[in-house]
């Protein structure tokens, strides 16, 4: 291996970043409390939205799934955003490189392979179970659109204050969070294909072409950036709700 630059920096940073999120996410998802500030604010943590179990109480804007009462509301729904991100083309690159070391960096040998003839001969990429399931990314994308709508609803709800419309610092975070989710979701490669790129002749699908050129492609170009920004902001918004809910932080009201 002849690369003498610090090629290991990026995979290392990715590992640390993703592990930090997983650790935080596990803690918050299993916690099952302080995810909702019911009064005098209507803030519902994005980890817990939509809140669908009996214990959700006033946070359940979209009704209850009967019978489930004891489990943390986050665990019921997190499979969808998690699946979307796990099968996302960017995150796949990130974890294949940093966790699988396949490859750890360009022109750096895969873990387990040390010679040009390839000691590790069982590399099968995404052709076998379970990785063949990565092909289901677009289904998660359909749900991701639904979730983006729900988080948008939560951002609207965050303007609800006793006695009418208001705005707190938390409201701002909810708006930014929803915006980032939309930007990430609309920059998805599957979206770019389904909603535009699959056309053979753009001149015969002008509307799709416009969206493909002016929306999906520019967003897709920065998919990595938005993947991280939205990831960090979800955690931050959740943390903020927790801190306000526990009373550790006072949420300033703008108007």
């Amino acid at each position: 291996m002849l690369r003498n630059d610090r090629w290991w920096l990026q995979p290392l940073a990715t590992v640390l970043g993703l592990l930090a999120f997983v650790a935080y996410g596990t803690w918050t998802a299993f916690r099952g409390n302080h995810y909702f500030v019911g009064y005098p604010r209507d803030y519902l943590s994005p980890f817990y939205s939509p809140c669908l179990v009996n214990s959700c109480g006033k946070a359940a804007d979209f009704g209850h799934l009967g019978g489930i009462g004891t489990v943390s509301p986050a665990l019921v729904i997190l499979i969808f955003p998690m699946g979307f991100r796990l099968t996302c083309y960017y995150y796949r690159k990130a974890y294949y490189r940093s966790f699988w070391a396949s490859p750890p960096a360009c022109a750096v040998a895969d873990a387990g392979s040390t010679s040009p003839s390839g000691l590790r001969s069982h590399y099968s990429g995404e052709t076998r179970f379970p990785l063949v399931l990565q092909n289901a990314h677009r289904y998660f994308w359909y749900f991701a659109v639904l979730f983006a709508c729900i988080l948008t609803w939560d951002a609207v709800e965050a303007f609800r204050f006793p006695g009418g419309i208001g705005m707190g610092l938390g409201t701002l975070f909810f708006v930014i969070n929803a915006a980032l989710i939309w930007i990430y979701t609309l920059g998805c490669h599957a979206c770019r294909h389904i909603c535009g790129g699959s056309a053979k002749r753009f001149s015969r699908s002008r509307v799709r072409y416009r969206f493909w050129r002016d929306v999906f492609t520019p967003l897709n170009h920065h998919h990595q950036l938005f993947a991280w920004m939205s990831l960090i902001f979800i955690a931050w918004t959740d943390l903020y709700v927790y801190l306000v809910s526990t009373g550790a932080v006072h949420d300033p009201r703008f108007f």
Binding site: R92, G118, E126, H189, S198
Partner: protein
């Protein structure tokens, strides 16, 4: 760069049987690229140093190598852009060595024969019409200079030699994407791309895009759209249902698509290129001085 600076360049010398790095020292000159230095070494110190090059302008894609371990074109890597100190230049690791910096890239030409050819719709009276927006995507792919750096860096074959039998590699995914997005093309290669070209082996880790000297967005614009097209044809029940309801034709099978390849047309002919394989005993069999 001050005139008196000295360049220390380590070049890999050897053949299929083995070899080692040799160090060359020579004075730096203004505005040089790595290939210039290699040429000066060839002209003054090592006349039999094997290096493949043609245009020296980044247009032909012949002088691919690994500079300080990074796959690059020697003619487009300025010496002043490299960190100070020893510079190593080694042949592409993804292909068998012929001699010194020259590798046997025939794998790529074999794959090229297996690509189902462009198959246009019949020409309408007055000729074909295509809008610029119809061909923008294809034109990006047509920038490819076939330097094969993407093929070299792709770990699927670089680190797992046996995959070469079942995997086309990034260069040919670009080619297939160009055909699939060509406004005049009528052939459906999706099953073929999945089965014969092995697109499922790609785990989109994007090194091909990183090394592309033409800045083609290989992963985002070619490979992933191809993967999505394969999903359309093979993994998406909604698309399947849509085809049934709208009466659209089912995707061609891989076997059907294979009929459109150059490999199929030349099957009855004598084997083409590279009738003589790399042979370490060449030198001795000619009775010439071996070194």
């Amino acid at each position: 760069m001050p005139e008196e600076r000295e360049i220390v360049m380590k070049l890999w010398r050897g053949d299929a049987g083995g070899g080692a790095f040799e160090t060359y020292k020579l004075p730096a000159q203004e505005g040089e690229v790595v290939l210039d230095v290699v040429h000066r070494i060839q002209a003054t110190k090592a006349p039999d140093l094997a290096v493949r090059w043609n245009c020296k302008a980044g247009k032909c894609g012949s002088c691919s190598a690994e500079i300080n371990g990074r796959p690059r074109l020697m003619c487009m890597t300025r010496m002043s852009s490299l960190p100070i100190g020893e510079i190593t230049v080694s042949p592409m690791r993804g292909f068998p060595i012929m001699r010194d910096l020259v590798t046997d890239v025939s794998y790529n030409f074999e794959v090229a024969k297996q690509i189902p050819s462009f198959t246009p719709a019949p020409k309408p009276p007055g000729g074909y019409r295509m809008s610029q927006v119809d061909i923008d995507r294809g034109q990006e792919f047509h920038k490819c200079i076939e330097c094969f750096l993407c093929q070299n860096v792709c770990h699927v074959i670089r680190d797992h030699e046996d995959n070469k039998r079942v995997y086309a590699g990034p260069r040919f995914f670009v080619r297939l994407a160009e055909l699939e997005m060509h406004p005049l093309d009528t052939l459906d290669r999706r099953a073929y791309i999945s089965e014969a070209m092995g697109i499922g082996l790609c785990n989109i880790t994007k090194c091909c895009t990183e090394v592309c000297p033409e800045d083609i967005h290989i992963t985002d614009n070619a490979i992933i759209p191809l993967k999505e097209r394969v999903v359309d044809a093979r993994y998406d029940p909604v698309a399947w249902l849509g085809r049934k309801l709208l009466g659209r034709p089912a995707p061609l099978s891989a076997v059907q698509a294979a009929r459109y390849t150059g490999a199929a047309s030349s099957a009855a002919r004598s084997p083409s290129a590279r009738a003589v394989p790399a042979s370490p005993e060449t030198a001795s069999s000619t009775g010439l001085p071996a070194d």
